[in-house]
């Protein structure tokens, strides 16, 4: 502890530090961990880091960076020190997410059926009907069990006072769960001893839970449903994850060209002819999934898939058209959505959000652009955003122009200094790095959340962006029973 944590500056007056309180004392749930880590020498830390690096390299755990030609596969950086969530805090998150995802699913069912919430003017109809993610083709179509969002990953952050907020909902094809699983395995291999004194809730059953969820949404009553994963292919940045999950679930990984639709039924092409497919866990975006319905130039999709889906001959996870509810503009309505469908107060709060489409908000955004975070409504992965305090005047002016030209596409939020967690930014130096949390929520017959999730770390000193495409890394995340 001396070695590593003595030189560590929590800067608790500026940021919420996950490990150290304002007084510079370790928070109770971190006590034993710090003690354990304190017994390691620099050499031991290095040796264990090497074990982990080899583990990740051999597993081929890489992600792809766009716009870089050579060496496009990189190892996703992993930080040795786990993030600990006390069971009590986790309970709130779990309840809050269950509430939120239930409400969002009801919202999706509603807007694809009677559209009551639009008629009641709780959410402006033009926001939904004008959204590029609204799938007109699916109005009146009911997915199995009425569930649209089988796998979701909402991003959760903490502010200066340690309060939890939902930053965004990812209701289409959230990624990263393979890192969550691999991080745990890597840490267990490198530091078996640090697990000794804690009751860390297991997460290893995620693939089984995912498979169970997928089997629950089978559209027919087959005994042994044929479930497959659909990937865009090896050049996709999350390809490793697709193949990893298929392997863990023991099901086949398919590409669009492996599937064919005949008479509104979906088959996979095998060396022995065609075999029926019942459920598809798809990691291909809506717009590419069926060239007959969406982008006709798509080479990744399956022609006729949407019709087969509409006829109820195949189930898709997630359903089509769920992006309409994770739009950053709709995000600002989620508290209202929760109250509207469930009659409850939201357990997890939203980050205050200004909508550029709202004239008074627009004025506020333009006047305060230097202090706000501006985001494009439909982008993800940390692309298309402006962090006011870190931007140049020229960048701010450029964004202001873009906002004025297309206000519906932009929102702004206060710059929240995400909580920080000590992390190794090089071999011997600990630094407070900003983190967030992405728990993965499974929704079949009911909602299951594997305890914890993926903690993403902005490993660049001072950076607030945790996305892997922008130099982020991750940590193992423990939910600990006292």
């Amino acid at each position: 502890m001396k070695r590593f944590f003595n030189r560590y500056e929590a800067e608790s007056e500026r940021f919420f530090d996950e490990v150290f309180s304002m007084e510079g004392k370790p928070r109770p749930h971190y006590g034993k961990l710090l003690q354990r880590f304190g017994q390691f020498s620099q050499e031991e830390i290095n040796a264990r880091k090497e074990i982990i690096n080899i583990f990740f390299r051999n597993q081929g755990i890489t992600f792809t960076v766009y716009g870089v030609d050579e060496g496009i596969e990189r190892i996703f950086p992993f930080d040795l020190i786990p993030r600990i969530l006390p069971a009590k805090e986790w309970q709130t998150i779990e309840k809050g997410l269950t509430q939120r995802i239930t409400a969002l699913n009801e919202f999706l069912f509603d807007i694809y059926h009677t559209q009551k919430i639009l008629k009641d003017k709780v959410v402006p109809a033009e926001l939904i009907l004008g959204s590029k993610h609204f799938a007109r083709e699916f109005v009146g179509v009911s997915p199995p069990l009425g569930v649209y969002i089988h796998v979701t990953g909402s991003d959760i952050i903490r502010d200066n006072d340690g309060n939890y907020f939902v930053l965004e909902d990812n209701l289409r094809t959230p990624s990263g769960v393979s890192y969550m699983l691999q991080n745990r395995q890597a840490l267990k291999r490198a530091f078996p001893v640090v697990f000794e004194k804690y009751k860390v809730r297991p997460i290893e059953n995620y693939p089984q839970e995912l498979l169970r969820t997928l089997q629950e949404i089978i559209p027919n009553s087959k005994q042994e449903p044929n479930v497959v994963v659909l990937t865009p292919g090896i050049y996709n940045s999350a390809y490793f994850e697709h193949s990893f999950l298929a392997r863990q679930m023991g099901i086949e990984l398919t590409e669009g060209k492996d599937l064919v639709v005949n008479n509104n039924k979906v088959y996979k092409r095998t060396t022995r002819g065609l075999e029926r497919v019942d459920v598809i866990y798809r990691r291909v975006d809506d717009s590419f999934i069926d060239p007959l319905v969406f982008r006709p130039d798509s080479m990744l999709g399956v022609a006729g898939l949407i019709n087969a889906y509409r006829k109820g001959n195949v189930a898709l996870a997630n359903a089509i058209g769920t992006g309409v509810a994770d739009d950053k503009v709709i995000y600002s309505f989620v508290p209202k959505i929760i109250r509207y469908y469930l009659g409850e107060e939201p357990i997890l709060q939203n980050v205050p959000t200004w909508l550029a489409s709202n004239p008074s908000d627009l004025k506020y955004i333009l006047e305060n652009i230097g202090t706000l975070v501006v985001k494009a409504a439909n982008e993800s992965g940390g692309y298309g955003m402006l962090i006011g305090p870190e931007s140049t005047i020229a960048e701010q002016e450029q964004f202001a122009e873009m906002i004025v030209a297309n206000p519906r596409n932009y929102i702004a939020q206060p710059t929240i200094s995400l909580s920080r967690h000590p992390s190794f930014i090089n071999e011997s130096e600990l630094h407070g790095c900003h983190i967030d949390l992405r728990p993965y929520v499974l929704y079949g017959r009911n909602i299951t959340i594997v305890p914890g999730g993926l903690t993403r770390v902005a490993l660049k000193r001072g950076s607030l962006v945790v996305n892997s495409s922008q130099g982020g890394g991750s940590k193992d995340t423990w939910v600990v029973d006292e």
Partner: protein
Amino acid sequence: MLSRVAESLFWMSRYFERAENTARFLDVNFNLLLDLNRISPVENPNYWIALILVTSHKDRFDELYPEYNARTVTDYLVFSRDNPNSITSCISLARENARSIIESISSEMWEQINNLYHFLQGATPHAVHNDPSGFYREIKNASHLFQGITDNTFSRNEGWDFIQIGKYLERADNVARLIDVKYHMLLPETEEKKEITIESDDIIQWMAVLKSCSALEAFRKVYLSKLDPENILRFLILDRTFPRSINFSICAAEDALWRISGSSRHRYVNNADRLIGKMEAALGYAAIEEIVSDGLRDYLEDLEKQLVRIGEQVHLTYFAYHTPEIEPNGVEEALPFTGVGGGRAIWSQAQQHQQQQQ
């Protein structure tokens, strides 16, 4: 198993074998030139042209390089990205194929492909010229290791059989080409049908051919020191026990094809099975004297054509778009087949990137 997975296993294996054989071609040529004392100061371009003729298109080479010598040919066959059959290209393609089916192969297999890939990324022409034998041995050993790992970690299922088919079809083709190299060296372009002669240079060349198949010792055990061309050809083409002979390779590919389809000697169920059975029978009843008197060059050329057709039929039967309308229907005419298959869909690369990562 998914057709795409079968196809990728087939091509992964085939490209790996192709890389190994190209290393063998080059290695033998270096040895030969050393033996014949011709490597310098006056390099004999004929020896290098021969390599290009049997492994690739002469035109493509001519576009890229001004002349034939150790440096240009090595560069083209080892490093060039413009040559789809260069060792580097083959291993990259083997790796791409493996990567797309990473959940279907053992992690040890993947690691070994990756190792060789990274070894090649780090290799320089300079290093190859300093120690050509060492470099080619590295490639050959990597391939042997890969096959051994596959042998020990891959279940004996349909996928295994596709790996075998890829390997042995490629090997049979390559041995035929290797014998061809010898002919190109021997015969000036004008004298197409020169008799097989036995001169001292000639024996050295034949020994080099045997060596490049790792066959010299095995040959000696059978024929003692009777190093005459007919015996050597008999060994390389017709021997049933040596694992790099053409006959052995065809038998092994046939076994694998029949295991997949359930065919047998008396009953075949598709064209791939029929063609390989026909070829195996022809090899089984061939005599080397007949082959030589009818013209070895023509024989080898015909053999290579048959191998291409078998490849086409494997493609149609197991990999091609499997719908009833375009089911193979017994007609032998095949779709155009480029021989560079399993080329992953690079054309859809941009779209794969575009998928939003949430």
